[in-house]
């Protein structure tokens, strides 16, 4: 069981992971920089990321990480199929959702918890599409978006990782996630990066 993981940094989920979702807010660029660039080009999983950014501006986050990473990184397009080894950012001012047929879709529905894109919306729709095959990650942030969504991921049998609030740039978001998800693994960014590399290798070996 994930809840009784013996050595935290060594644990891997019981069910094979099929996709990763990440929610991050204030301090996000730095936190993601500790995780994404370490993943290889042939990483076998897709990664969808919701980062809170000021609306009304073109975001350069995807381009920035595309330069830094071996993975292919871009802003999500409506109804595009989700492919392994690709990183998709929610565009500013749109919710990013996962369809049951595992395509991405965008929505300009109302902000949720004052946020569009909303981490909860991404996590909940992804949990619906991937069930136990989803790995959800909540990183630094100054609000409580993501807590509810991460708990939905765990309810669906998926795996939850949370950045250690003690080292997070802003502790509020990880803290709220920990309170909502007592069974989640709390890791430093370094351990998290290793964890992601390891499940990638496991998946790669199985393939």
């Amino acid at each position: 069981m994930k809840t009784s993981a013996p050595a935290k940094s060594a644990a891997t989920p019981a069910t094979p992971v099929e996709a990763i979702v990440i929610g991050v807010s204030a301090g996000g660029l730095k936190a993601l920089s500790a995780i994404l660039p370490g993943l290889p080009r042939d990483y076998p999983l897709p990664i969808m990321i919701c980062i809170h950014l000021p609306p009304g501006k073109k975001s350069i986050v995807a381009e920035l990480f595309d330069d830094k990473c071996a993975l292919s990184v871009r802003e999500a397009e409506d109804k595009e199929p989700i492919l392994p080894g690709n990183v998709y950012f929610a565009p500013p001012d749109y919710h990013l959702m996962v369809e049951p047929d595992r395509r991405l879709s965008l929505s300009s529905e109302e902000p949720v918890l004052f946020s569009r894109p909303s981490i909860n919306v991404l996590f909940e729709t992804a949990a619906d599409a991937y069930g136990a095959g989803l790995l959800g990650i909540v990183l630094t942030g100054a609000n409580n978006d993501g807590a509810q969504g991460l708990s939905t991921i765990m309810l669906a049998g998926g795996t939850a990782l949370i950045e250690d609030p003690a080292e997070a740039y802003q502790a509020a978001m990880p803290q709220a996630a920990i309170e909502a998800c007592p069974g989640a693994l709390v890791l430093s960014l370094d351990d998290m990066a290793q964890y992601l590399q390891r499940i990638g290798q496991t998946m790669g070996a199985n393939a």
Binding site: E77, K79, P91, M97, S108, G131, A132, G157
Partner: protein, 282 residues
Amino acid sequence: MTAPAHLSAAKTEDIEIRLLLEAIFQKYHYDFRGYAMASVKRRLSQAREFFNCRSFSVLQDQVLHDASMLPSLLGYLTVQVSEMFRDPLYFRAIREKVVPHLRTYPSLKVWIAGCSTGEELYSFAILFREEGLLERTMFYATDINPDALKRAEMGVYDLDRVKLFTENHRLSGGKSSLSDYYTAAYGAASFDKSLRKNAVFSDHSLATDAVFAETQLVSCRNVLIYFNKDLQDRAIGLFSQSLARKGFLGLGAKETLRFSAHADGFTEFARDERIYQKRDRS
């Protein structure tokens, strides 16, 4: 091995949602069956909570037997988020790149598809007045939600939204002051009736209805994202049929024809602003 409980529960919900959408279609002729599932499911979950129903099946039972629930259910199923001159660069491209072509027509027909509460229509009407095109233009503003259409026809918006509208209008290259076009009273901005003198507000479904006029410009923004691929193709097919040769199609900032069956029928006219031009078939 038997499926874990959460998996079978999710499947049941999906079945219930499909049945609910089918029921709404058969009984009330509103067709949401081709809507993208993730978003419909979210919004129906909110509706289920609002109507205090234990399941989507219970909601289906109630809505089949109580037509008075329909307007409020439609409010959940249709997304009414809009603002005037939303994505100002889109309107700047219309003004600077599309308008010079439109000027060459003695009369114009423009279709605002999925007009919701009308913000986009008034944006176009103001832009066309500034460019001297309004008098020769007929606007068709269509939507499936009768309440939204009524509000579109009224053209009254909360005054606290007008600050954003004004800023958007300025960024779009507006040649006048937005305050020239509305009167403010009791916390609301009421837009000038003359802007909608040549506008027809009409119930029209991109899912079930056909083309009704030949147009030179179709603007349909942040509507297609709520559709699945097949329904997107149907809607784009309608736009293509409606557009005159070399007519223009404007989509939302994150919408594209790239994955569409009709992609070949259009060229990218202003790529970043998602404005397409129908090909001149010979």
